[in-house]
Structures are given as structure tokens and as C-alpha cells.
Symmetry: C2
Subunit: 545 residues, 2 copies
């Protein structure tokens, strides 16, 4: 068979020719969105590559960063940079400024392509970016703050204008780096994940398989998930493979504009994290609109509350759960119920799982003793995955070498996801906890999340966070911290009895603490690190039952 | 990213676990077909591999041949042989006996797995098979003829019984040979095409993409196309990737049983060459049955007559054209109309083309002067293709080295398909002729098939074959040989005038010959070699207009 490398330039060329009339639609906030055909994107991508090489001197393996919303120009950068042999580094505009500076310096970005609307974020950082030589500005936004900055400044449209609209893309090694993305890293420095041409190509094929996303050129995908976040879940690449139209919200991510673009452009698919859909649901409740075009809504990044799924069902929007992470490109699972369950009472139970693995992802659960757990829907373990679009290492340690920390990669090279859960006999994953939060008690695992959910089902419990604390006899035991409603009458014994009906007896916490509020991270998740530290420092008033 | 090789064993493992309850249904001619779950196929595949290695001594790279119908055991061989590192050689039971002997010796098959019902075909050949050490017999059929044959004889079920039902499949190089298939070769010896694990894996992913076949575990695929023919168009591999149920007709390929299995098992997809569907249509006309479950019928191997497509439309069966060849694994094109054409008058015009190329197949047309032709729907050229599941060479010349004949592979490694046609601006291929039959006249090409179709549209013309003959001025010119109906009054001048309204003037033949019948090949195609020879030998009575 021919030894044809799997390259991003092949995806681009295919989309721009075979599906030349498909469109990238960018929302502008005006009456009519901006429309650009795949053929035009193909031409402008070639122009951008010529500009980067001939005008900006970008060489193989140089990092070209983007600080951009989801829009047509960002799609052009997605294809131009890797196709010419350089590496696309998508900067996460939600990162704290000091982390943005850290990752841009760590990646040694030579060029940053930035949306005009994001200059207020970028300009103050420029003095701290040690390797950036060029800033390319695209789209609306005041440029005045750029006066006197150190890097050379270019206007995107002027830079690419008049250059050749085709390109003889180089035949690269398919294992060469194509793109990189840093994990947000709640602990320690952000970690860089490097995607190869091969991994992006195979991931795109998988996304297009009927068991995954399964769209065609009859579809339009509303990509709410940001392009700076795991390649927008691979959608820009996948869509060029099969002519799926792209609907890009640019900076208009508020529920109002989203509802408006769904009603007017009638996308058949959308992808976003649950919080976006929570907001959209509130908007649709306040101002009903027709969103029934959305036959498939991929929700990932966090579990979708079942109530939200049901609410969207009644609106004619069909939610499909997916699980993945930056290290998994991200497609790890998709919750399409088995054919036999469709239309039965079991269907919903399958839809609220994380889903089942595609052919490119192998999975195993490692139990408390390190042994592989059976797929019986009951035995819990930390999920480990393997496959051609799963990270093997993180980018560049101090000496530039790949990093394979033992808490992230198993001795035989599988990725440790840090997620704990079960897998059913037919391969459906249910995640119950984070590995760092699970309570390791006497060789068995207790899910902190299960205890929390059970506790929060009590009418007088406002919030409950359960963490592991050291225990002489069992290694670890659960500590329950509880926020009670005003005027609540329940005491810890009452809550323990309430719990006893819902979880196994050996899982019941002995240690209880009443708190005014559960400490939270910047994104609103329970900050269990803080609770564990409060306990260790004696800062909690603990009752032992 | 992890360097995980794309192996057939991964497809098997995925199907047997994630889709363990999907089924391979084999028709038996009895009231109830035989059903075997993917999980059971997985176990029996492991048992077969253990048997081949431990009992028959099959080593890496050894060729294991099959002479089998489409059935569950053939699927087991499909997975066991490549997964263990050996090479599956599917023997085409329609080949003339001397060619079967030639290919089995050329491939140096060590083992043949044969269906009992095919022993009458195999046993007489055994004395001529120089490398075959073992014959494994599966399924019903009289074994008595095997008494006294030279190779050791094994019963399939006895051979695999009691062996371990799992296997630690080796981590092979994905570019290693997995399977081979010989082209039937109308001229010269058959040519062996060798598929790699990588090519099979990528082809399977493509088959499952929504723009190609796009099925899920809710589907059942009736695989009429034989497993000895280009891996049954890749269906057994593709179905294990996504849990599609397989319906296998075994030896029951007659229209009656096919209609019966469609009505009773309600497959949603089927794949076969047009002649099968012609027969089925006649059967359904004689004895109507409900075949409306067939939402998608893939027709390839030859163009499907538009009238046949329309006839099936009215029965609720939806035909989808596909083009490919042994050298292309075979998926080369699929005729799904562009979304914008669906429901319009243009839709049918797209459906009768060969279709458009999937992301893994790059295509170009080489015109009469060797230059690449534009995709304008009018400029004709020989189709050349490139991609990771396209052959780079043929198997084993005299010294064992790969063969790259210049008439089959371009100087830069693309496959010359031998098909001539046009490609539209949106990538739809329309084939008009075979390269060897096209008439090269003064630097332009004249399609013999177009002239024939135009001539046969005349009410008094029964058959017409047009071939290229040497011409001093133009290089080549068309010679029309015509069979007229009894009592016909048309003369050549009349026919030429009739043609003039349908093709360009410079394409009109000057040379005409009346014949009693057009010579045909064993499969009923016009044998143009014979006509060209008759003309060269002066054996035709030619009128010059």
C-alpha cells in the first residue's frame, strides 16, 4: 500500500476542493453573519502560510500562537501553521495573565495572531513575552494600544493580500508536531500537550464516524467550545474532512446571541460545556425561540445534569454526552445508547453515562490495589486509556525533553486520566470521582461525589463536600463537611441515618463538620485541597460519631 | 501522542468487547439462520489463531488461504490470520481452476481453510498445489473425496475446540502485510495486491464515516459481495469497528434466498455488484416481498443502469453507487449527492455518477498529452489515485520483489486506474471508458463507450462495438462494428447521420463493419482485443465513408 502520510494539509485540500462550497459562518453581531466558503478558506490559508514563511520568517517547528475567538481566520491559522510544518499554539484567553505569559514563554512562541477585540488582554503582557517577534492583528478592535510595542505589528488582511492562493504543502512526517495546547493545571504549572498530524487526522476520521458525531455536508455545527480549548474538540479539522458547515460565534458567547444564531442559522449540531447550556436554557425560558434544528448537542468538559438533558429534550434539542480531556484530543467516549436500548426505559440511563469508547481508544480501570478491574458496572478504578490520539508525554521539561510524570502515565505508557469510575459489560463508562478525591479506605474506594450527592438530597442540606482524611486503622476515611439551611433541625446523627439508606454501611462517614460555606475554586468547583488543609491544620470543628 | 499501531487485532478486540452482542448471521437454507455474537467470534478467533500457530505451525508472514463463502467462520479467519501476524489470502472461487492453482502457488499458501461445499472445486486442484501442507474444512459438505489427499486434513470445529478463548495479540508494525487478493486479470497472469494492517484500519474508519457508509449498531449489513473479492469491500472489518450486524448469505446467492433473507432479517444495508440486483429485481417482480428495510444499497464493481436504480427506488430500496478496484481496497468514491442537490432535479444526475472521493483518496486525471486535466466535468483523462489504502505495487515478481509496471503506476507513485472519465468542480467522478479502449485521435480522446451507447440507441442496431484502429493522419480513429436487427433497412450513412446529432463531428467514425455478433469475453463483456485483431488481420469487411 502507498505510504501516504496522514497530514493536516490533506484535510485542508480535501475540504477546499471536494467541499469547496461548504461554509465557515462567523457571527458578527450584525444582521447578517460573515460567510466564507471552504474554497476561500483554502486560498486564504495558502496566503497566510506564504506570509508567515516569506514575510515573518517562520521556519519548521517554530511555534505560531493564536489568541483568538472562534472565527474563520482562526480556522485559517488552524490549517496554515501545521500544513507548512510549523506548530500552532492556541493560547487560552481565560487563563490568568501570569499563566498566559508562562505558557507563551514556555512554548517559545515567535508569532501571535490575535483578534483586535483581545488586544486589551494581550498588550499588557507583551513586555513579558520573551520570544514573540511578530503580532498579527485580525478583526475589529482598537489598535492604538499597539503603538510603541516591541514586536513588529501586522494587519492580518494586509499581510496575506496578494500572495499566492495555492501552496505546494510539504510532505511531512505524520508523527511531527502539528499543534499544542496547555492544560489549565489547577495544581502546578500548566502542562503542554502536543498533537501530531497523525493524531489530528485519525481523531478527525473518528469524529466523522457514524458512532461518534457522524455528520455530513447537510449539517452545520455550532462550535461554542473555544478553538483555544483542545482544538475546539477537533471540530474544525473534522468538518473539513466531510464538508460539515461551521457556525462560529466569535466573541458572542452570551445566551442571547447564541439563541439568535441557533434560530437564524439553524445548526444541526452544537458543542459546548454544560454551563453554556445552562445559560441558554434560562434564555430560552425567558424568551422562547425555535432551537429544534439541534438534533445533536455534544456536551463535554463536565457531566451534564440529567435535568438539563430532559429540559432540552422537551425543546427538541438532543443532548449527547461525551467525555475527554486535553490529553485525549479530546474524544474519549460518546454516550450513544446501544441500538437495543433505544426507545426503552434503559435509554436515558445510558445517555447520562459518559458513554462508550470509540475504536481508537482502549480503556482499563486500575483498582485500589493497582489491578485491572472487570467491566461489570460495579468495580471502580482509575481510568487509563491508550490510543493514537492519546498523549504519551507532556511538552518540554527544563532541558526540553518530554515529561512523563508517574502520576500521569502508567509504567506501560497508558495515560492515567485521574478520573475514577466503572465500565459496564458493554463498554459504557460512568465516572464517579476524581482519583485525588476518592477515599482509599481499607483497600476499597469510596466515592466522595456519591456521598456528596446522597447528602445533598437531604432537604435541609444546602451543600456538602466529602474529603479523605488520614485514619490509623483504615488508611483513609471520609470527612463530611456540611452547610445546612437556615433554621435546619437535622443533626449529624440524622444525616448519617439518612445516608445509611443510600450507601453501603462501611462507607458512612464518622467525622462530620458544620461549615458556613464550602470553599470553591475560581471556576466554582469545590476546592477539596483547602478543606483537607483546614482539617490537617486543625481549622475545622469536627464531631466524631 | 502515543505510538499505537493501527492493527486488525485492535478492530477485533473493539468489536468483541464494546459491541459483543452484535451478530454475524449466516444463512443456512433452513428456517432459522445461524447467529453468532461478536463476543463469540472474538473467542473463536483467538482459538483459531492458537490452532494455526500451535497445531499447524503457522509462522509470521506465512500465507493462510481461504476458499470460502461469506459466513461466520470466514470472518473468524479474516481476524485470526492477520492478528497473529500471518497473511490472509482469499482465493477467488470463480477463477478458472488453472488460475486458482497459479495464484495459490504464487502466494505460496501453506494452509487452505475451505468450506465443505467447495471441496468438489478444491480436491482436484490439490495435487497441483506445491506449498499447501494443511487443509481445514468448515461447514457442511461430503468429505469422502479427501481420502488419500497429500496435505493433512483438519475439521475446523475439532481444530479450534478447547483452545484458549483469548489471545495476547502481538504488537505488529502497522505497515506489515495483513491480507492479499489477486485481481482476476483479463490479460496476463493475475496480480497480487497486498493490504497492510494500516490500510485495512484506515479503510475501515473511512467506511464508517457518515459521508461513506455511515452505519451504526442499529444497522445490519447484507454482504453479498464475496469475502474472496477485495475483503468483501472491507465490510467485515468496518462492521467490527462500530458494531454493525453482518448478514452473510453463505452459498445461497440466488435471487430467491436473497429475497427471503432480506424479508426475514430486514437488513438496512446491502452491498453487491449490479448483476445480483438485476436478478433480485426479476425475483421481486415475480414474487413481491417487503424489501423496504434496505435504506442503503451499495452498488459497485460496474455502473448500475439508471433504470435499475429507479426500479429499486420504487421498491423503497435506495441505491448508492460506489467505485473502486482491488488495488483501492476498494473504496474509491461514493455517490452521495451534495446536500444542496438533495430533493432537486439534480439529485439523480449525481447518483448515476461514480461519486466523490473520500478524504483518504486523492485523484487526478491525466489527459491525452499526459497533463493533469481540470475538474470541469468535461475534460477527460485517465484517473490516477493516491492514498494510504491504494496499492503501491503488485506482489512478488520472479525474484519476490514488488512489481511496479509503468502502465499501472505513474512515475511519482500514483495508481493508474485504467479508467477514463471526467471530474466535476465538486469532485464527482464520471467514468466513460477504459483507457485501453479509448480512441486517441489527433491529441484528443474519443470515448468508445459513448459512441457505442449512441449507436445502440438507434432502433435497428442490436449491438455496436467501437474500437481504435491505426490511422496515418490522426494516430487512431474509431472503427464501428455493428449488429443490425433482422430486416433492418439502415445503412452506414444513415447510422452516421444518426450519430451526428449526438456526438461531435470530428468523433464520427469513417470505418464501419457489419458483423453477425460482437465477440465477447467469458463474463459477457465486449472483447475489443479480438475485434482489433480481426481488423489488423484483415478479417473484417470494412466500408470507408
Amino acid at each position: 500500500m502507498q505510504d501516504v502520510p496522514l497530514l493536516i494539509s490533506r484535510i485542508l485540500r480535501h475540504g477546499a476542493t471536494i467541499y469547496g462550497s461548504s461554509q465557515v459562518i462567523t457571527w458578527t453581531g450584525e444582521a447578517e453573519p460573515h460567510r466564507r466558503s471552504f474554497a476561500e478558506v483554502g486560498e486564504r490559508t495558502a496566503q497566510l502560510a506564504h506570509a508567515l514563511r516569506d514575510e515573518l520568517g517562520v521556519q519548521d517547528d517554530d511555534r505560531v500562537a493564536t489568541l483568538m475567538w472562534n472565527n474563520a481566520e482562526h480556522v485559517e491559522a488552524y490549517f496554515a501553521v501545521p500544513s507548512m510544518g510549523a506548530v500552532l499554539h492556541t493560547l487560552n484567553l481565560r487563563l490568568p495573565p501570569e499563566q498566559l505569559v508562562w505558557v507563551a514563554n514556555h512554548a517559545a512562541d515567535r508569532v501571535i495572531i490575535v483578534n483586535g477585540s483581545l488586544l486589551p488582554l494581550l498588550v499588557p503582557l507583551l513586555p513579558h513575552l520573551k520570544t514573540v517577534e511578530h503580532v498579527v492583528v485580525s478583526g475589529p478592535g482598537d489598535r492604538s494600544a499597539l503603538a510603541g510595542v516591541a514586536p513588529r505589528v501586522h494587519e492580518y488582511e494586509e499581510l496575506i493580500a496578494g500572495r499566492p492562493a495555492d501552496c505546494d504543502w510539504p510532505e511531512l512526517d505524520e508523527r511531527q508536531a502539528a499543534a499544542m495546547c496547555y492544560t489549565s493545571g489547577t495544581t502546578g504549572d500548566p502542562k503542554g500537550v502536543v498533537y501530531s498530524h497523525r493524531s489530528v487526522y485519525l481523531h478527525s476520521m473518528q469524529m466523522n464516524m457514524a458512532q461518534s458525531m457522524g455528520l455530513t455536508d447537510a449539517d452545520t455545527s455550532l462550535v461554542v467550545v473555544p478553538q483555544f480549548h483542545v482544538n475546539a474538540w477537533g471540530l474544525p479539522h473534522a468538518t473539513f474532512m466531510t464538508g460539515i458547515n461551521l457556525l462560529m460565534p466569535d466573541r458572542f458567547l452570551q445566551p442571547g446571541p447564541l439563541a439568535e444564531m441557533i434560530e437564524s442559522e439553524r445548526p444541526t449540531h452544537a458543542a459546548a460545556v454544560p454551563t453554556i447550556w445552562q445559560g441558554l436554557l434560562a434564555e430560552l425560558t425567558a424568551r422562547p425561540r425555535d432551537v429544534s434544528s439541534l438534533a445533536q448537542v455534544t456536551i463535554g468538559g463536565a457531566a451534564c445534569p440529567p435535568a438539563l438533558m430532559e429540559a432540552f429534550d422537551t425543546l427538541g434539542m438532543r443532548v449527547c454526552h461525551a467525555w475527554g480531556m486535553t490529553e485525549t484530543s479530546p474524544l474519549g467516549t460518546t454516550a450513544r445508547p446501544p441500538a437495543a436500548a433505544v426507545g426503552t426505559d434503559e435509554e436515558f440511563a445510558y445517555r447520562v453515562t459518559q458513554g462508550r469508547f470509540p475504536s481508537g481508544v482502549e480503556a482499563r480501570l486500575r483498582g485500589p490495589d493497582g489491578r485491572t478491574q472487570p467491566w461489570d458496572g460495579a468495580s471502580a478504578g482509575e481510568l487509563e486509556v491508550r490510543g493514537p490520539w492519546i498523549a504519551a508525554a507532556y511538552y518540554g521539561g527544563p532541558g526540553g525533553e518530554p515529561q512523563r510524570p508517574a502520576d500521569k502515565f502508567s509504567e506501560d505508557g497508558w495515560l492515567k486520566t485521574g478520573d475514577v469510575g466503572t465500565i459496564s459489560h458493554d463498554g459504557f463508562l460512568t465516572l464517579t470521582d476524581r482519583a485525588k478525591d476518592v477515599i482509599k479506605s481499607g483497600g476499597e474506594w469510596i466515592s466522595s461525589v456519591e456521598l456528596e450527592n446522597a447528602l445533598m438530597a437531604h432537604p435541609e442540606v444546602v451543600e456538602a463536600a466529602v474529603v479523605a482524611v488520614p485514619d490509623d486503622k483504615w488508611g483513609e476515611r471520609p470527612l463530611a463537611t456540611v452547610v445546612l439551611a437556615e433554621g435546619a433541625t437535622a443533626d449529624f446523627e440524622t444525616l448519617r441515618v439518612f445516608l445509611a439508606g443510600k450507601v453501603a454501611k462501611w462507607q458512612l462517614p464518622e467525622r462530620w463538620s458544620l461549615v458556613a460555606a464550602v470553599p470553591k475554586t475560581s471556576v466554582g468547583k469545590f476546592d477539596k485541597k483547602v478543606i483537607r488543609k483546614q482539617y490537617a491544620d486543625g481549622g475545622l470543628d469536627v464531631t466524631q460519631l
